[in-house]
């Protein structure tokens, strides 16, 4: 932990520069960097073409709004009000008048240009260090017009990477369970959306209960629990084709599925005769291996990113606690020893931390600890919240939170929330309906 606190203060513009833009991502939103996102400029012909295709009046402005929103939500940046911008977007993209941008206290400036080229969307953008008066980055790419939101996310990823020194997490999606209806009869559907809540799409109809969807490493497949025909089993869904198949067709309930980091196996629990054990299934040859062997509840397994270890929760000590074992099931060690009960361990993409849910004295916490259980840090406390999932760069956790109902049992809601690893920047993630069980994809554009 200490290691990683030190290593991510990145110094930019090392060449002939007397000013530095640095974004210290360990400190959350204490000092967000003032950044000016100039609307991407667009010529009139291109604007009309895109208006016809996408029904957006000015696609350049729309894309820059996505960038602006991403930067704001990250908590690390403070996008400045466009009303204060003095320079026209097209001219700024050619050569910013740095003294103008300096005047409004912008430290970084993003400019760019969109054009319609052979039925495609071509974007170029530039990142400028205002104080140094230098271009930091210039990139151009071409895609189909329908991808315009992703263009905004990719630009944000590039800017984030250049300014923080870490990979971005904006061109990503969230799979989750969309919920509606009374608490006693919730209708649940699988849903997928962009990380910012846009492009929401339901993947199941709500005819059967579905729970705990999780992406595979390439984010093309999802494993989840479905109560199809009242048989709770682990399923696999191909997002592109919509094909679904049972993978956990055991003589009893299979649940709590996740992929191995190489995507070749699914690890899950199988409950039979009052005992839940952890199993793996190789997706290619369907070979099943039993990993735990204990008369207690063993569930919520999650691999370390190198695939060598598995964390899980078990009540073998009397209450639910977090354990780590080798991936063959040997060397089981309890790692949670704080007050309260601990569950839903998930290994961070960096491999150094495990995020978890904790219940203590009637409150639920999302927290992180080192993989040996030391350095426990609670990030957020609430009436009910659980099931953290890591952003692909390991900087943000998404989880869900449920409200306490009133004395008449009314007022229930379930929402997705995110929080920085720092414990700052807690935010509700917008969803069209209630939501739970979020899982964050990998970075879609690598």
């Amino acid at each position: 932990m200490k290691n990683f606190l030190i290593s991510i203060i990145i110094i930019l513009i090392p060449v002939k520069s007397f000013s530095l833009i640095e974004v210290d991502i360990t400190r959350g939103n204490l000092n967000p960097l003032p950044v000016a996102v100039s609307p991407l400029s667009i010529d009139e012909d291109s604007r009309k073409n895109f208006e016809n295709i996408l029904k957006k009046k000015n696609i350049g402005s729309e894309i820059s709004l996505i960038v602006e929103n991403n930067l704001r939500v990250s908590g690390l940046f403070n996008p400045l009000n466009k009303d204060a911008f003095l320079q026209e977007p097209d001219i700024a993209n050619l050569k910013p008048r740095f003294e103008d941008w300096n005047l409004i206290k912008a430290q970084a400036l993003i400019t760019g240009k969109v054009s319609y080229v052979e039925e495609k969307l071509r974007v170029e953008f530039r990142l400028w260090d205002v104080l140094a008066g230098k271009e930091m980055m210039a990139l151009a790419f071409t895609t189909v017009p329908n991808n315009w939101r992703r263009v905004g996310h990719i630009i944000t990823d590039k800017v984030y990477e250049r300014l923080t020194g870490e990979r971005g997490y904006f061109d990503t999606r969230i799979i989750y369970v969309a919920e509606e209806g009374p608490k006693t009869q919730r209708v649940k559907k699988l849903a997928i959306m962009d990380q910012d809540g846009a492009n929401n799409k339901f993947l199941t109809l709500g005819n059967e209960l579905v729970l705990t969807p999780r992406f595979n490493p390439t984010s093309q497949m999802v494993t989840y629990l479905s109560y199809f025909r009242n048989l709770p089993r682990v399923y696999l869904l191909d997002i592109e084709t919509g094909t679904q198949e049972v993978v956990g067709d055991f003589p009893g309930m299979t649940f709590a599925p996740r992929f191995s980091p190489d995507g070749k196996k699914i690890i899950m629990s199988f409950a039979k005769d009052g005992n839940s054990e952890i199993y793996t299934m190789d997706l290619e040859n369907r070979i099943v291996e039993k990993i735990t062997n204990h008369p207690s509840i063993d569930t919520s397994p999650s691999y370390s990113p190198d695939g060598k270890f598995i964390s899980f929760n078990s009540d073998r000590s009397g209450y639910q606690q977090i354990y780590v074992m080798k991936s063959d099931g040997s060397n089981v060690k309890r790692i949670s020893f704080g007050k309260g009960i601990y569950g839903t361990p998930v290994w961070s993409p960096r491999g150094d931390l495990i995020a978890f849910t904790k219940l203590h004295k009637g409150k639920f916490y999302i927290g992180v600890m080192r993989t040996d259980g030391s350095g426990e840090r609670l990030l957020t406390e609430n009436f009910y919240q659980e099931a953290p999932s890591w952003s692909p760069n390991g900087r943000v956790l998404i989880f869900y939170r449920e409200t306490k109902t009133d004395s008449k049992g009314k007022g229930f809601s379930a929402k997705l929330w995110s929080i920085d690893l720092t414990g700052y920047n807690e935010r509700q993630v917008p969803t069209p309906t209630d939501g739970s069980d979020p899982s964050w994809s990998s970075l879609l554009s690598n």
């Binding site: 009374p182 608490k183 006693t184 009869q185 919730r186 209960l209 729970l211 705990t212 629990l225 009242n230 709770p232 009893g252 309930m253 649940f255 709590a256 629990s269 409950a271 005769d273 009052g274 005992n275 839940s276 509840i297 569930t299 919520s300 929760n313 009540d315 209450y319 639910q320 569950g343 839903t344 849910t357 219940l359 009436f383 009910y384 659980e386 099931a387 449920e402 306490k404 109902t405 004395s407 008449k408 049992g409 009314k410 229930f412 739970s436 069980d437």
Partner: protein
């Protein structure tokens, strides 16, 4: 009549909450709870006259109480008399636990009921088990009495 019942229940909930917050760990009977096991009848349905359909559990527990065993003996007697009937035991947990653990806990509770029925001569062929974890509460309240009603195993006729 109905209002009366609502008021009465409301009052009992308040009493139960007060009693629990006053001494959360002592085995206090409040009329509807013994310790934190539900002993009321509000949510109970009947498989046949005098045969309640469900049993209740303490927090995190799957141990059958004396009352639960009595209910299950009645169910076993009824099942022996009606030998064509098959059943599903639906195990449930309250909302104060993580989703996956609660699925396992519901399964463990339903199996506790199954094991007991089997010791009274009901063949396992006639019993299937289905855990809903915390997905299907009967009471949508966020209070100890509501949670006690939701920690249950319900015997449902399958045919």
């Amino acid at each position: 009549m109905k209002l009366n019942k609502i008021l009465k229940n409301g009052f009992l909930i308040v009493v139960a909450c007060l009693a629990l917050s006053a001494c959360a760990t002592s085995k206090k009977s409040t009329g509807q709870m013994q310790g934190d096991v539900y002993t009321g009848t509000d949510t109970v349905e009947y498989l046949a006259s005098g045969v309640p359909d469900r049993v209740f559990f303490a927090t995190n527990e799957s141990v059958l109480t004396t009352a639960s065993r009595e209910t299950l003996r009645k169910q076993a007697a009824w099942l022996r008399k009606n030998s064509k009937i098959t059943i599903v035991l639906e195990g449930h947990a309250d909302e104060r636990g993580t989703r996956e653990y609660n699925l396992a806990l519901g399964e463990r509770r339903a199996n506790a009921a199954k094991d007991y029925l089997m010791t009274y001569g009901i063949s396992s062929d006639r019993i299937s088990v289905l855990s809903y974890g915390k997905e299907r509460p009967v009471d949508s309240g966020s209070n100890p009495l509501a949670w006690s009603k939701n920690r249950r195993s319900v015997t449902v006729k399958a045919n």
